[in-house]
Symmetry: C2
Subunit: 116 residues, 2 copies
DNA sequence: ATAGTATGTCGTATATTTGCGACATAGATT
DNA sequence: AATCTATGTCGCAAATATACGACATACTAT
């Protein structure tokens, strides 16, 4: 044993995993889609559109906000959440690069040891 | 009063979240990258390349296999894991569609109620 | 000031994830 | 056969995620 066990993980891997985790719950996917579809920046109305309590929705909102994927601006009594499209575009590129790498030709090279 | 609380979540949202969850840990991202980089379909050698015990790596492998993102072929005494590039390409498209939707213009329309 | 409304935080309960040692299994090797 | 070797499963502990009611805060309106 005592193999190299290379450094924990690369920053790239941790970053991708972190964002993937943010999208790892239907509610958070739904929230992003909701914010993308609304022309007006809605606030807690989000909770009314999801099958979850307001408390739970707030938690999901906080998780997305922690990664800066969404932003909330206080507008008097209400809070207006919006997508951080700039960051989302960067994230999209990261995912694209990852998938491009993963789906690149010769996943199991021609002279592979097995048939998969 | 919009108490609709729409149906739990759409299949699309649940599917995207399910895959995102599979990518929500650095180890699983690393495994996919590893399989993509090796010309030969490695097996438990994967564990030797990660900072985790063999048991834990096996668990991550099972999670990826449960979603059919990777496949394992028994090759005598060893097992040969490979990426399911076909499925990965489909998944990539799902993510692309999601991000395209999320980063589309007019996230907060011109006449938005707030300034974000 | 008082009341009302939108929002977030706290505490808590339950479920899931993560990690690993110990054990079981099955094909290979002697 | 006896043994080695690669792999997976089991059981357990700790950490994290999920969900929500009750409470606190802050702004608005009467």
């Amino acid at each position: 044993m005592t193999h190299a066990k290379t450094a924990p993980f690369t920053d790239e891997q941790r970053q991708l995993a972190r964002v993937a985790k943010a999208l790892a719950h239907p509610a958070r996917v739904a929230i992003i889609q909701l914010l993308a579809s609304k022309t007006t920046c809605i606030s807690g109305d989000i909770a009314a559109e999801l099958p979850l309590s307001r408390t739970t929705v707030t938690q999901h909102l906080q998780e997305l906000k922690a990664l800066d994927l969404i932003r909330g601006e206080v507008e008097g009594l209400t809070v207006c959440y919006c997508l951080n499209t700039t960051l989302l575009r960067q994230v999209q590129q990261q995912f694209t690069a990852f998938f491009d790498q993963a789906t690149a030709p010769s996943p199991c090279a021609p002279d592979a040891a097995c048939a998969c």
